[in-house]
């Protein structure tokens, strides 16, 4: 990890390591160790977000004018790597990597001033209200609608799979403000800065791992102010698409994340018997699977670095963000699968209580292996959310095969 660094990153890395060492307390580290999906344990992660903000480091990829640290791409990458190596929780992406960049691009000065500081500081958590029961892959067919009535809009309909809505105090969502025309027309992108509104109900959904992560959100005559639109009314689709590119291409660094997962598997393999008196790490089949994944991660890394330098919204960036999404998420799933295969049957133990941050239920078996199965289960979603792998392939095909 360090060999390709140019020398002046050594100091930078040391500063990052020192800061984490000082600032990340036990609870934050525990949250990092107990992160089993793209969505780390909420409260300690937001606390870590605020601590990073106090240091000026909560949004490595944001431009300086909005509070980013002004780091080079290499520094951002080094920062991600150090954070992953220290196993602190990754920050939640909805604000920093999704709606934040969209507000910078499409927001009025008033909107920027109203929303960006809270996203940067971690004072506010935004949840993403795109999907609906009947509008998943076909997002443009969404039917949650907002009608102008006097000096406000009235929203009716529902959203689903809304990650961490039960923790959120803000929500960005897509609503239909005009019927007729192409499905992409008449959609508006709303910013809701208060979820505590009459008619708005949030119901958590229990996931495969037995814990709530996504939610259903119901709107029954929910009134919101007329200045809720980000971008033009009825032109929310452009905003939505821009945001999706950020979501897919990972302003977060997948490669750093995946290398940590591989390091974790390697540690387990060194200690795990192969059933014949040796250890798994010496087994050629294990070695082959492991090294193949190291190769896959190297490709994710290389493409990600290329993508980071691209102007989002340019003709190449859309398909490339789809390509990263496919490659990275499918690689992650294979990594998670190797992890359960490496741990073996002890991964079958259901350990919901032990996985809660602050729990006094001790893990059964090695604490290192606690997260392997929840990750395997939860990350099956990685090829579904943010546009499924099938949808990403459709997007690339459209460009690649264009006449």
């Amino acid at each position: 990890m360090t060999e390709s660094d140019n020398p002046d990153l050594t100091d930078f890395r040391r500063d990052v390591r020192d800061f984490i060492e000082r600032a990340a307390d036990d609870e934050i580290r525990e949250a990092g160790r107990k992160t089993t999906s793209f969505f780390p344990p909420f409260a300690p992660t937001m606390r870590w977000h605020r601590l990073l903000h106090a240091q000026g480091w909560s949004a490595p990829s944001w431009p300086r004018e909005h509070g980013g640290p002004g780091w080079s791409v290499a520094q951002q990458k080094a920062f991600e790597e150090e954070c992953r190596a220290a196993r602190v929780p990754p920050l939640l992406p909805q604000g920093l990597s999704m709606v934040g960049p969209a507000i910078m691009r499409f927001g009025t000065e008033a909107q920027k001033a109203a929303h960006l500081p809270g996203i940067l500081s971690g004072e506010h958590f935004w949840t993403q209200g795109y999907s609906e029961p009947n509008a998943g892959s076909d997002l443009a067919s969404l039917s949650c609608r907002a009608e102008r009535r006097g000096d406000h809009y009235v929203i009716n309909g529902s959203k689903t799979w809304t990650t961490y809505a039960h923790h959120a105090d803000r929500m960005f969502l897509l609503v239909r403000t005009e019927a007729g025309g192409k499905p992409q027309q008449g959609i508006s992108f709303f910013l809701l800065d208060d979820l505590d509104r009459p008619g708005l109900t949030i119901r958590p959904i229990i996931g495969l791992d037995g814990l709530p992560e996504q939610c259903d959100v119901f709107f029954d005559d929910v009134e919101v102010p007329l200045d809720s639109c980000l971008g033009e009314e009825n032109d929310g689709w452009s905003v939505a698409k821009y945001l999706l590119e950020h979501e897919r291409g990972g302003s977060s660094s997948f490669a750093a994340h995946f290398r940590q997962e591989l390091a974790f598997i390697r540690r387990i393999a060194v200690e795990t018997g192969d059933g014949f008196g040796g250890v798994l790490a010496d087994d050629p089949v294990f070695q082959q699977r492991f090294s193949q994944l190291a190769l896959d991660v190297a490709m994710v890394d290389a493409t990600e670095v290329k993508f980071a330098a691209l102007d989002k919204g340019s003709p190449e960036s859309g398909p490339m963000s789809s390509m990263i999404k496919i490659t990275a998420m499918e690689t992650l799933q294979r990594i998670n699968e190797l992890a359960i295969d490496t741990v073996g049957t002890p991964t079958l133990t259901l350990q919901i209580e032990a996985l809660v941050v602050g729990s006094d239920t001790p893990p059964i078996g090695s604490p290192d292996t606690l997260t392997a199965m929840p990750k395997y289960l939860n990350n099956r979603a990685a090829t579904i959310f943010g546009g499924s792998s099938e949808i990403q392939r459709n997007i690339i095909a459209k460009t690649l095969l264009a006449p």
């Binding site: 892959s137 014949f276 499924s388 099938e390």
Partner: protein, 378 residues
């Protein structure tokens, strides 16, 4: 092969279908999974009354006079309904170790109770470092004046928290990796020195770690003759693999059916998603994975089901093949359902989790492919 008549087997299959239809809705199953015991003891009693617990045991022992092969129709149906009762662990693994035992007194003292549903013996063979190889045994059986003293730790003991007895493998001689020197003892769970750390598993079943601390056993508690423990254990696990394969096929066929049905009703972009060619091909690949596994299973049963010991290469390839198909079909079923497949509410995720467990139990793909190589390398 099967030793029950075709009529008898058809009757059994019908009775299983009827029972599951009447008592095993997904909601009823969920209530059982969430209960303290993790299964329904009254179901178990009905299994006994219906004769199911006696299928693979000799009539002299109080059974129906069938073989493991005769349980496969039931196991396949259990797979379709995601049954959580401890049939595989009790009637399969432990039951087969006992049924094939040379210790006729011990057998006679246990089988009637097992068949009547009064005792639940389970098999404790896996260890931290054994990785699907039953011959890898670190647990010691140190000879004493009265018999042996057992010390060691077993992991992933299926149905351990529900058990009344544990059939445990322990080594009286040799090193952990030797094929020889393995003994099988039956120990009541309330014996001093036996500790069961029970837990739920991700697939809604129960298992546990079992610790043996200076547990005294006598020759009356030993299932095997001198030098035959390893073979007896291997036979029980291969029988378990066959039953597991049947269950996996049941779960896979249901999951494929559910996926086809869902994609035909779920509409996106103005049409059923089953209309997208990429999903059609995926479902065809799921079908191929299922059908090949099923054919291999049927052929393996036809060729080796009746033999006392399944040849290791055939047993290894069957488990590897079933595990591969289970993974693929489970993963793709989730993928094709989209977000709804990731929820606890829908049964699809529960099939996926059971198939994940079945792919890991008794050794996964890599372990069995390695076993194949070792068994065929001259």
């Amino acid at each position: 092969m099967s030793s029950l008549s075709a009529e008898m087997r058809a009757m059994l299959d019908d009775s299983v279908d009827k029972f599951l239809r009447d008592h095993y809705s997904f909601d009823a199953r969920r209530a059982q999974v969430e209960s303290v015991s993790g299964y329904a003891p009254d179901h178990w009693q009905q299994f006994a009354e219906l004769g199911w617990l006696g299928i693979p045991f000799a009539e002299d022992d109080g059974g129906l006079g069938g073989t493991v092969t005769d349980t496969l129709g039931l196991m396949r149906r259990f797979g379709r309904a995601l049954v959580v009762e401890p049939y595989l662990g009790v009637v399969g693994l432990a039951g087969q170790a006992i049924a094939n035992s040379a210790n006729t007194d011990l057998k006679a003292s246990l089988l009637p109770g097992l068949i009547a549903g009064e005792i639940l013996p389970v098999l404790a063979w896996e260890e931290t470092r054994s990785r699907g190889n039953p011959a890898y045994v670190e647990t010691r059986a140190q000879p004493t004046a009265e018999g042996w003293q057992i010390d060691g730790e077993k992991i992933t003991v299926l149905n351990a928290p529900q058990a009344t007895h544990v059939v445990v493998s322990a080594r009286s001689a040799g090193n952990a990796v030797d094929d020889d020197g393995i003994e099988l003892f039956v120990v009541a769970v309330d014996t001093p020195g036996v500790t069961v750390e029970g837990f739920a598993t991700v697939d809604g079943h129960r298992a546990g770690r079992v610790y043996f601390d200076a547990v005294a056993v006598t020759p009356e508690q030993r299932l095997n003759n001198d030098g035959e423990g390893g073979v007896l254990l291997g036979r029980a696990i291969d029988a378990g693999c066959l039953m597991l394969a049947a269950e996996a096929i049941g779960a896979m066929e249901t999951l494929l059916d559910k996926t086809i049905a869902y994609t035909q009703t779920r509409k996106q972009f103005g049409m059923p998603i089953a209309g997208f060619q990429v999903l059609q091909h995926r479902m065809v690949d799921m079908y191929i994975a299922l059908t090949n596994a099923e054919n291999l299973f049927e052929q393996t049963v036809a060729e080796h089901g009746g033999q006392a010991t399944m040849p290791a290469p055939a047993a290894a390839l069957l488990k590897a093949g079933i595990s591969q198909s289970a993974r693929y079909i489970g993963q793709q079923a989730i993928q094709l359902h989209g977000g709804i497949g990731m929820t606890d509410e829908l049964d699809v995720g529960h099939y996926f989790k059971r198939l994940t467990a079945l792919s890991l139990l008794f050794g996964g793909v890599d372990t069995h492919l390695k076993r194949y190589w070792r068994a065929t390398a001259a």
